[in-house]
Symmetry: C2
Subunit: 152 residues, 2 copies
DNA sequence: TTACGTGCAAATAATTTGCAGTCCC
DNA sequence: GGGACTGCAAATTATTTGCACGTAA
């Protein structure tokens, strides 16, 4: 590929972000970061991100998406979310998690802050809290039409 | 097998329990229920239960354990727990869930009731809440020795 | 009797990994 | 240059399923 096209990604602001976290800023990682954070806060799986990536000129492989998401999570750029079902979800919002999960649609969205209770639980002896995750599972109410809730 | 040994399980009190839930009380299901509930409230995976079952005289197959746990959960005898990692956990306590999850040991135990906050979140339009699950993830504190926490 | 349940082995689904080749520092 | 990263394909892990046989109602 031409030097111009090949090195364009180096101008991304995510190069610095990745480097700050001790992650080498490669083309693939920068592409993935751009995709992840381009649309504001959101919840997604590796497959979701992969299908978005495929629309790019030089999309990373699925394995690289998995590896990048794992690495990003380990370095605090995104957070893993505990959820029912087999798939691992990631959230671009890295604070404590409070979500509604609409099972029927496999859809995840935020619970508005004002409803979040104080969680003031002391960690057991010898341990520290590294994450708090709350998932409230939903089902459609009988006879009701549920509208989509992308992003909280 | 002798008629006596083969029909002994029919005397189990779980026969009625299963029937009440619309589940046909078979030898395997009764065995599984006995194992599940013999030790008070606890948290386990299909594999855990399978290895316990193998010590019995006529242990059910792994597939049957999976199927039984799924069926039991669908009928309210146990509850699935959303947790990090690939495995599905089940809890014999069927009320709302509040747990500590000690990542390093892959160990799950209850948060004492007195620390549980009021969760009073209204369900979004057209939906109803079918489950509330809270997982507080823990790591050992630097230099501390963590003791095992089987059962909360 | 007859539909439901079981057991085995094969099928799936999500994710990880080995390894040869690439690229960043 | 040398180790970190990537891509592919193969391996793993957890779980489900097809089908022949068994068993509860």
């Amino acid at each position: 590929m031409s030097a111009n096209a090949a090195t364009h990604w180096r101008k991304s602001s995510f190069c610095a972000t990745l480097r700050d976290q001790g992650l080498r800023p490669t083309r693939q990682r920068v592409q993935i970061a751009e995709l992840l954070f381009a649309k504001g806060d959101r919840h997604l799986t590796a497959e979701t991100l992969f299908s978005e990536a495929r629309e790019q000129r030089y999309p990373p492989s699925l394995a690289t998406i998995y590896n990048a998401l794992r690495d990003f999570a380990a370095h605090g750029l995104v957070r893993e979310i505990a959820l029912y079902g087999a798939k691992t979800w990631y959230d671009t919002k890295t604070g404590p998690h409070f979500h509604f999960y609409l099972e029927e649609r496999d859809e995840l969205f935020d619970i508005p802050e004002e409803f979040i209770p104080l969680m003031n639980v002391p960690a057991p002896d010898g341990t520290q809290i590294v994450g708090v995750d709350v998932v409230i599972r939903l089902a459609p109410k009988a006879g009701a039409t549920v509208k989509a809730h992308e992003q909280g």
